[in-house]
Subunit: 263 residues, 2 copies
């Protein structure tokens, strides 16, 4: 956001600083690390077994500096979120980049900081915040776990948490059926009637548009469109994007990123 | 900050919303509540008994909407902080309003949210964040404590934490000897030589100025000065303010508030 580095440059910098793993950066940038943590936390929160395979996952490799700039212009910052929701007895667990309103506390989590943000009926919002990478914070966490395990041995207890709480067997909601808002960036032909054709495809797929911004591009007779949708069933959104990509007036759909208002 | 209410109006609104106690608002606005919590947390953190009487305490009644506006102009927000520091075996515990840089995570704690922010050598920064007032969060905390106590009964343990950890007897550092930066607001006569006389008093008391802003006031031949000092021993600052207040060219010292860069 601040230095306008390419993704590869940013990744090299992050590895140099110890923020992304050197041997296996995909653990961080593809969201595997976040997905593992989400599986553990969701199992505890919802008393039902959630494994890595149950978690829908998208990494941050497709997020461009254009997306970050556009998001800022519209009052959002892009964060990699790991979201676990239980609704009507169904569990939704997903890791993906998302646009978060700049005014939300999660938008202020930067650099190597991680946060666990919990929303509950009675507690309202609570959050834990700390360094999620680096040699000293990692050493501190590992030593903390060793001390906890040693104490538990001493007290004849097993494990770090008190036994397994997964006594329920809840269903998972498919990402296709999940409801989200979306940010969409596309390059199109700059001529009359183009927007109507795109809007028509959105409409046919029950995708309702909240806002649209048009920007000029460097290329002649080309325009860049930014859409933010209202809440939409994910499979309808994917279908509309697939159809829009095939329109002869559409050069390329560059980005499709979820928007989480967290309210 | 947002509605420019007078202190009394803001307090009435806070009481109406359940954010400040009705029977005894001084618990909140004079910082007694924060001081009690600080005494408990500092006792645990430093393994040494800290009681309410050991905590230096200033409330927020003296903070004006002018101060809040000036702070914002200079990149700060004003928060009521409860600070516990152990340095060279001495404990400093103090509750007071302070200017915090807007870029710091603590500056984003708003409304009824509270945060406990801990800085340690190895953990670096960690923070817990949640609602500190309101009927439902309070009920949730109370019920949480009841459950913990019941579990401890069941396991034949006493109290919520495992026994008393106050095995040391550390000294307290007096607020007089504490080192802080300060924000100072004063109305002075608008004529040549005034600033030199004030700067002279600061200099004689080893108070070094970081920045100074002069603003016009509504009244004729009167100017408003805003100072931010470098780090200074508190008793030197108090002495300089006492002497400056007596200068014939100084109308009134309106505000003296600490600045905490938290870095």
């Amino acid at each position: 956001e601040k230095n306008n580095l390419s993704f590869d440059e940013a990744l090299a910098k992050a590895q140099e600083l110890g923020y992304a793993e050197k041997a296996n950066p995909s653990s961080d940038i593809e969201g595997y690390d976040a997905a593992c943590k989400l599986a553990i936390l969701a199992s505890i929160a919802f008393n039902s077994r959630v494994t890595l395979n149950d978690v829908y996952r998208e990494g941050i490799t497709e997020v461009s500096s254009d997306d970050i700039g556009n998001a800022l212009d519209m009052g959002y910052r892009i964060k990699l979120l790991a979201i676990g929701i239980e609704e009507n007895g169904e569990i939704s667990v997903r890791v993906h980049p998302a646009l978060v309103p700049t005014s939300h506390i999660l938008a202020s989590i930067e650099n190597t900081f991680n946060a666990v943000y919990i929303y509950g009926n009675y507690i309202d919002e609570i959050m834990s915040y700390g360094r999620g990478a680096g040699d000293r914070p990692t050493a501190s966490s590992v030593v903390g776990d060793i001390i906890k395990i040693a104490r538990n041995f001493d007290r004849k207890r097993k494990g770090i948490i008190y036994g397994c709480g997964c006594f329920e067997d809840k269903k998972f909601k498919s990402i296709d059926d999940t409801i989200s808002k979306f940010y969409i960036l596309m390059d199109v032909a700059d001529k009359p009637g183009v927007l109507a054709r795109i809007a028509d495809v959105f409409g046919q797929n029950s995708v309702s548009i909240n806002s649209m911004i048009q920007k000029q591009t460097d290329r002649e007779r080309s325009a860049r469109l930014i859409f933010i949708t209202h809440e939409v069933v994910n499979k309808n959104l994917y279908k509309s994007i697939s159809e829009i990509s095939k329109l002869d007036v559409v050069d390329k759909v560059l980005s499709v990123i979820r928007v989480e208002d967290l309210s």
